[in-house]
Symmetry: C2
Subunit: 212 residues, 2 copies
């Protein structure tokens, strides 16, 4: 399931359709998926599903990221035993990363597997003052046990379906699976598997694509 249903308010337009090396960002993401999985469902904004960007099927997204994933999940063939979710905004994900997260599901106690990278910056918790609108530091986090999560994320299909069955919204699918008490394994992500955030990123991504 490639999630490409965002409106891209921060980007100034739907970033997943911006051209990267002459090809829409989402098409890169679908192509990387395709090399590692059997069937690709792409989730697109309303009114855009005439074009599938290389996926087997295009469906319409919902009001939140999790709702969009649920729409994609509903279109996954029922016989699928593993479902991989990937954000279209990460067009630099290599097929090997998809294979790594799927491979981690081989352990019988593992219900999900995500890729993640160490946190390089200092993280702090802040509190906002409603009096003067200022923000102050509450604490500096110990970043050594923290990771920054990427996609793709792979799940035992039934576990992911159950995790999404109750509705709910989270910034990633693993959080919903974690909430069911299931075990989510973490495998090394790729520092180059960046999320497209602003228009400036496109030049850098093209540079990285040339270097890959």
């Amino acid at each position: 399931v490639v999630v490409a249903a965002g409106s891209g308010t921060r980007f100034g337009g739907a970033k997943q359709f911006a051209l990267l090396g002459g090809r829409p960002v989402v098409a890169w993401s679908v192509a990387a998926c395709r090399e590692a999985v059997d069937h690709v469902v792409v989730v697109l904004p309303p009114g855009m599903i005439e074009e599938s960007f290389g996926a087997d099927l295009a469906v319409t997204g919902g009001a939140s990221r999790s709702e969009s994933v649920r729409n994609g999940l509903a279109a996954v063939p029922p016989e699928a035993t593993v479902v991989v979710v990937h954000d279209a905004a990460r067009p630099l994900a290599r097929p090997s990363l998809f294979r790594d997260v799927v491979g981690a599901l081989a352990s019988p106690d593992v219900a999900g597997a995500i890729c993640a990278v160490p946190v390089a910056d200092t993280l702090k918790r802040v509190a906002h003052s409603s009096v003067d609108g200022s923000s102050c530091v509450v604490e500096t986090l110990d970043r050594r046990a923290l990771v920054m999560v990427q996609t793709p994320q792979a799940f035992v299909a039934d576990v992911l379906r159950r995790a999404h069955a109750g509705g709910g919204d989270a910034t990633d699918d693993a959080a919903l699976v974690e909430a069911t008490g299931a075990t989510v394994r973490v495998v090394p992500g790729d520092p180059r598997n960046l999320k497209l955030t602003g228009p400036d990123d496109l030049t850098y991504f093209e540079h990285l694509l040339g270097a890959v």
Copy 2:
């Protein structure tokens, strides 16, 4: 105090001396500082202080980042009432960011001010198994109250001197000041004020410098 004493093991060489648009990275950082403060001390690796990269004074760093800051702090004129600490690896910091953190010290209850940006990625706490070396998710953090910290960071000079007096080591200076119980204000950072991490970043940074 511009901290440029790292050995750059991850970068494959001291990244602060890599050329960015024909000029060493550290020289960009010193130049940005200089536009906003009266006196710049640069902290360099042992054996490199013949060249000051545009700073007023170059001193030798220590075994850790905090020790390097202490060496720089010892060289700051005693009459200074405000000290700004900046990592040389952030050559894209604009002078306005320095003025913002210094300006935040105007409130009498504020002892330090840092710049920071919202966390865009999902963060999770992981636990490593000593049995099979695998990592699993312990929890997904609520990122809404979290920020990623940048430099420059500005401090009331006496408070910073006291915070460093006990030795200690932290990933940023604000953490040492927070540990004294003093208030550290957070002002909006700049998404473009990126930390140079790998050699690949240089091309992107040059692109951003052209666009600034």
